[in-house]
Point group: C2
């Protein structure tokens, strides 16, 4: 189902006296972004990147520290580097211009237009080969390391007539471990950064906005309480990292297609960065065998926030969809019993007090009725299966079997009832981060789902990873998450992973990965609080890798109304919550509040009922990271538009010209706006005003968001 128009322009040039003339450059299709590859005097590979005449990445070294296995397994692995003594032996170029259709997404078609440069390197002292593949897009850069197999002659190893490595001194690179990836990101300045501290287990942090050089002094104070946390031993930050240069240039650093590789953090070195991978229990940062390759390291640039948000560079650097049949994959709008437990009103566990158990048959029927009445697809029920009474923080090997319900949860009956009502239950698998136990149970767990008609699962990884000593973001764990996604795909099950690794665009290849948490979500409105600007940052950071199951839609801002002892308010207004359905793109959207809280405000709830979670087109009307953003999207297959705007604690006013609407047509705009007195974090947070008016593409709307608020508009 793809429109392919790929043009490959290969050129291989041989030089006789010198191996290759350096530096080598590659321009983007529009010629305004350029990557330059060079070798230093001692053969260190470097790259630099410029965007519209401005240096984004100053010359920065590339390479690895490794331990390589020699010819004899008994000798073990010897420390070595892939950082110097390289010669350039070949250069290959290609151009691609392809338009592909995502199974779900922010738009119906995505264009992948880039120029490619492959530099083939040989280390003079060992004969080891390391290639670097650059893809230059109009808005940015992706590059990755590629290690050919010994047998692979696809990239010339030696230039004819040149003997690079003295006879008998070649040390083949076959099996090696990564001691550290040493990819530098040298910056020409000291930018502002919106960052969270690097951690091997979690991204559930509040963002700090500071200069890069200020990060080390702020690093240790940054973490929030979390059950499983392992800060990097030196100050590092997580990606996707959003930077703003003194010139105003916006630069985003992340990675794409992290497969069979550890998650990358960025070590702070002055105002520069260097890659810092997540280790396994032995400290090794990767176990590789040629042929192999790293994930793409990505740089997205833009003069304004909308340029960053509209980039599809991360998806474009991922492999095409691996599934022949995707007809079973669909966007999901859902409700659930989740918020009663997150607020503390009810319990996940049946014991010790069954009357406090949220996942009981009566309560679930209530939610199924509500979902059916209001057009939701699914009802998520956590805490339905035995084990929750004793697991949290205990690093137990085998807690859950994923098939045995608590006595008050009528598994068969509820699924039959859901079917009758035309909705589905959404499965929940709390893996307790015990990856072995989950894999052992996977076939039975997925099997139960198929038998009963579940088609999606939320899988949680709360707590320290088992096997003990491993980390949430190691190569081993990353392999596990993808294993589960693939096993689910075989059974036509959609997956939403929480506390797993942050996404890197793998949903293009595996579109049954319909959601990830991997950031500080709505749950922290109950736990430790979110900053009012939180959701004005996430689209520039966490969402660069893929959609987030942020679970918005909290209408009752006063949590004591849900759980009497919880004396706190959430940090957005009600209309701010509505806006998130548009601004936080996800094919999976929850209406997270309690049915009764929606039933009290059915007029506002109408927006959540109306808003789709799959789109033909998206326009980023305004986007100032940390301040506000306004996005409008066209519903999939319909001439309906939905606008959302979210702002920080300072409020926001805008004049929005409706020129995205079809010419000559009149639409009914329903505007959900903060009441003038609405403020986040207090008793007026839920005040809103709904107005309707007829609009055309010429209409200019004056819209106001109050502090911590936002607006939402439907155009039908």
């Amino acid at each position: 189902m793809k429109n392919l128009s790929i043009v490959f322009a290969l050129s291989t040039v041989f030089a006789s006296a010198v191996l290759w003339a350096e530096p080598v450059t590659c321009l983007s299709p529009d010629g305004r972004a350029v990557v330059t590859f060079d070798l230093t005097a001692v053969g260190e590979p470097t790259y630099s990147f410029a965007f519209r005449g401005e240096t984004v990445i100053a010359p920065s070294k590339l390479g690895f520290d490794i331990k390589a296995l020699g010819a004899d397994a008994f000798d073990g692995r010897k420390a070595a580097d892939l950082r110097r003594d390289f010669v350039l032996t070949d250069v290959k170029r290609a151009t691609a211009d392809e338009t592909w259709k995502p199974v779900w997404g922010e738009e119906k078609e995505i264009r992948d237009h880039h120029n490619e440069l492959l530099v083939a390197l040989v280390q003079k002292t060992t004969g080891r080969r390391m290639n670097v593949r650059f893809r230059v897009f109009d808005e940015g850069l992706g590059f990755r390391y590629e290690f050919p197999s010994e047998e692979d002659k696809g990239v010339a190893r030696l230039v004819p007539g040149q003997q690079i490595v003295p006879q008998g001194q070649t040390q083949p690179l076959t099996h090696f471990t990564i001691v550290e990836e040493r990819t530098r990101f040298n910056l020409p300045c000291d930018p502002l950064a919106w960052w969270i501290p690097a951690d091997y287990e979690t991204q559930e942090y509040r963002y700090t906005n500071s200069k890069v050089t200020e990060i080390p002094s702020l690093f240790k104070g940054a973490p929030d309480a979390n059950l499983s946390t392992t800060l990097t031993p030196v100050p590092c930050v997580q990606t996707a990292l959003m930077l703003k240069y003194p010139s105003g240039l916006l630069v985003n650093l992340h990675e794409a297609a992290c497969v069979d590789y550890a998650t990358m953090h960025l070590k702070v070195d002055g105002h520069d960065f260097e890659s810092y991978l997540t280790p396994d229990a032995t400290g090794a940062k990767g176990w590789l065998q040629t042929p192999c390759r790293s994930p793409w390291r990505t740089v997205i640039c833009g003069a304004k926030g909308a340029d960053i948000l509209s980039s599809r560079l991360t998806l474009n650097l991922n492999e095409p969809c691996a599934l022949a049949d995707t007809s079973w994959i669909h966007p999901v709008k859902y409700v659930g019993v989740w918020w009663t437990m997150i607020t503390g009103a009810k319990n996940w566990a049946y014991k010790p007090d069954p009357t406090m158990h949220a996942a009981n048959t009566t309560n679930v029927i209530r939610h199924l009725d509500f979902a059916a009445e209001h057009g939701f697809d699914e009802v998520l029920v956590e805490g339905w299966n035995i084990g929750f009474e004793d697991w949290f923080g205990k690093e137990k090997d085998a807690v859950f079997d994923f098939v045995t319900p608590y006595p008050d949860f009528d598994l068969e009956g509820l699924n039959a009832y859901a079917k009758k009502k035309g909705v589905k239950l959404m499965m929940y698998h709390e893996t307790s981060a015990s990856t072995r136990n989950y894999e052992r149970c996977l076939d039975a767990a997925y099997g139960l789902m198929k038998r009963l008609g579940y088609d999606s699962v939320k899988a949680g990884y709360v707590g320290n990873i088992l096997p003990h000593g491993d980390h949430h973001y190691s190569q081993w764990s990353n392999n596990h998450y993808l294993y589960c996604i693939k096993e689910a795909a075989k059974r036509q099950i959609m997956v939403n992973q929480h506390e797993a690794v942050r996404p890197t665009g793998l949903c293009r290849t595996w579109p049954n990965l319909i959601g990830n948490e991997s950031a500080r979500g709505t749950e922290y409105e109950s736990f430790g609080g979110n900053n009012p600007d939180h959701t004005t940052i996430l689209p520039f950071t966490r969402l660069i890798g893929g959609p987030m199951d942020y679970t918005p839609g909290i209408f009752e801002a006063d949590l004591s109304k849900v759980c009497s002892w919880k004396k706190q308010f959430i940090s957005t207004t009600l209309c701010g919550q509505l806006a998130l359905y548009v601004t936080m793109y996800s094919p999976l959207q929850m209406a997270a509040d309690l049915p009764e809280n929606y039933e009290k405000r059915l007029d506002a709830f109408q927006f959540i009922k109306d808003v789709p979670c799959d789109w033909d087109e998206t326009r980023y009307l305004e986007a100032e990271i940390g301040d506000y953003l306004t996005i409008v999207r066209k519903a999939k297959g319909k001439d309906e538009w939905y606008m959302g705007s979210k702002c920080d604690e300072n409020g926001h006013k805008a004049k929005i010209t409706c020129d995205f609407l079809t010419s000559g047509k009149t639409y009914t705009a329903t505007i959900y706006a903060d009441a003038p007195e609405a403020r986040y974090g207090g008793p007026t947070a839920d005040r809103y005003v709904i107005t309707k008016r007829e609009v055309t593409r010429e209409t200019v709307l004056d819209l106001v968001a109050q502090p911590g608020g936002g607006w939402a508009v439907s155009f039908k």
Copy 2:
């Protein structure tokens, strides 16, 4: 199918002024072995053990260093000890006398007759409970730690009227990690020990015979080359450990029923020992949750070697058979292509040279024909599936899929051919020690076996364990091995695990575990050589835990006849090899040599064809560890006896009275004896003399084993 006659004599005595009068003793049924439990002045639990008036274990402390989880998971686990401040709060006694029938074994019935003492302890400073259960047999002792759950009131926590722990200071013991088990084995002397160095990965070592106090100076020199080896950081030895006291008393230290627990080593401290468990990747030596218990720590005593070999204490301390139906479990005598690869004559891998590949269809047909002609049950074929061309020593995550044959191995056709011939192929799964990959593939791997008719699998764990950083003998890995055994049992598959943890009698509970390697086997006759006394030691050490797949039967002692560049001889004579089928008890016995080497010596081969591997009765006629042993066994359900005798490099002569034979009956004895010139390790190793004579229970046989040799006799 068991004859049960259990008598429980429970007595609970309350004392008012003191909690309990100490010390507490428990006698064996015959009154000649006694364990004494006591508390030191500071409440340290101790035990001592005496056998027939001689001190075996001097007073020795019991306990643990732990880290315990408090009430709040966020606080983590706090260091604590379970070593002092204990009070004795209850004593329970019981007696058992039960006779049970093993599914297979050295005899058809086993009597379990012991007295039991349970001491209930409470730590005064914390209220934590730790019980020690002792079982005293006529020939030895087993004891284990038991940690009751907080809810368990089965053992009285407090004596009425006594307040042990001040109000509010109780720290419940629920979830904890073991920093170290601190079980002492204080000896009254400096015994001779037959020991191998403690290693977290392997037991494939040559034995050293030295005084205990000499072990530390010999420890580092002891190891042999092995792909995966992690010596304990301080001098420790492995169990089962065989000791000889200056008095002549033989003492064996081991463990029974190691389930969900790390393997124990013994740290050398002067002439004493202390438990030293195998850690996981984090250094933790166990992750436990109450209620839980340790394996049994065992002490077997005897005045002579036969007393040790005839003890069934290890099996008796394991749980009864967990399988309702065991009809599908049967002894297996097999041949295979193994020795051609072990000697280096042929390869495991199809690549790079298919002509060197042992597991090719033609060769396997040759073995199937040979097996059918000579009455073997199965043919083992390793190296049949893709992956062997690139795995050894490389710690790859996913090597084998266990279902994809090499192109020259006709998987379906060979199984059909085997069926026609009335034999079976034996499956081989080289897990490459990648436990996750194996578990992921297990259902498909076992599924293929069931579809094709395989009923047994040899599973290897060569190389460093994955997940990286874990060890072969950790709690995590031990859990894996048992998981595979249980999954196999569900599918009626018998399992033979190589390079896995050494056995601790679990074959009683899971009799589909028909074999283990876990020691230096016949393969080392080709690798680095075995000592000529090796198999006179193994029955006292490795075999205490369960049968070993030693793979005897090498007839061609000159390895250069099998592999031209292998200029070495094996370290036994041919008759010594025959003897092993009797002296090394296993329900799984291989005839390991090449068919052509048997075909040249069909008269001697007749003993291997005749000898069963399941028995009604066994008598240990002579047994001097490190020197010689002679065992005679009665075939299961037949009036046939088979005798084997194996000696060290000094040869051995014996007069054997055949009084084990049925009175009044005459038997034909076929005597397979070393020729006078037969010597191990040289060109005369394969010289033998076969004689037949009529014998009765009055007959006295004069039998001679040459250096490194032995004899074998069948009585029909």
